[in-house]
Amino acid sequence: MESDVLVVDDSAAIRKILQRVLRQTGMAIRTIHEAGDGQEALALLANKRVDLVLTDINMPNMDGLQLLKSLKSAEEWRNVPVVMITTEGGETKVAEAVRLGAAGYVRKPFTADQIKEKLAGILEPALPL
């Protein structure tokens, strides 16, 4: 089954890189939506269903931890896996993300293999042509 993914990052460069990397993972991905911060993500999720959220932590307006908290406290989004992708390496924010229910954590800079490895248990691989 193909999945829809939401990428949340205030950097258009990182969103573009993640679009490319996600297409290279070999996972069955149908659509990749983008949002520039947590507020945009929640607005988008009001109308769209996604199977995975990849989010930065440090963003203006609403950061990734606030977004994670909002998703995990909403009945309809509670079971959607959220993977944090961020430069943050501090134990405090990692622990906070895990406590709030993050499914994983990837530190920037990242390789395509690191993203693929993190998503392996979350998304299904694409069927061979």
Partner: protein, 176 residues
Amino acid sequence: MNLHQIIVESINQAASNVFATMVGGELGPGSDFVALGAPEPTDGVVSFIGIAGPWMGTGSLTCSSSMACAICSQLLMTETTAVNEEVLDAVAELTNMIIGGVKNDLERHVGALGLSIPTVVFGRNFKTRSVGSTEWIVVHFPWNGEQLEVKVSLAPNEKFALPLQHAPTHACAIEV
């Protein structure tokens, strides 16, 4: 190892790691020095990111516009020949990753730190000044015949123990 050495080592590791992982093409060996006072007028692209916590200051990247375009082209796998929003965004993200790496290293020595959202400036013959900071730890890296400058200015935050409403903010003034 003193804080100066830790910062230089962190800049070297973070910059090399970011280029090797996401930009491509190895950075040459970094040469470091301490710069006092405001820098001379410059051309090209400069980015800043504020650092706050028990120590506070600024991290900064400087490169020519042609190098900024080359970095953007390799990072995003697009052909870019002029500085535009995409190039500025790529340099901002590069700054976020490199100074973020330095911040993560420093946290082991000085405690939890926070980073601001990066600011990027592009122009000709402009000066930059970080209010209250006079000493920068600067590392120059050669890359594809050009030079990337990464620098950090940090000072102890004497008011860190005060309640949040009295916590100082870090200002970064730019003279264009």
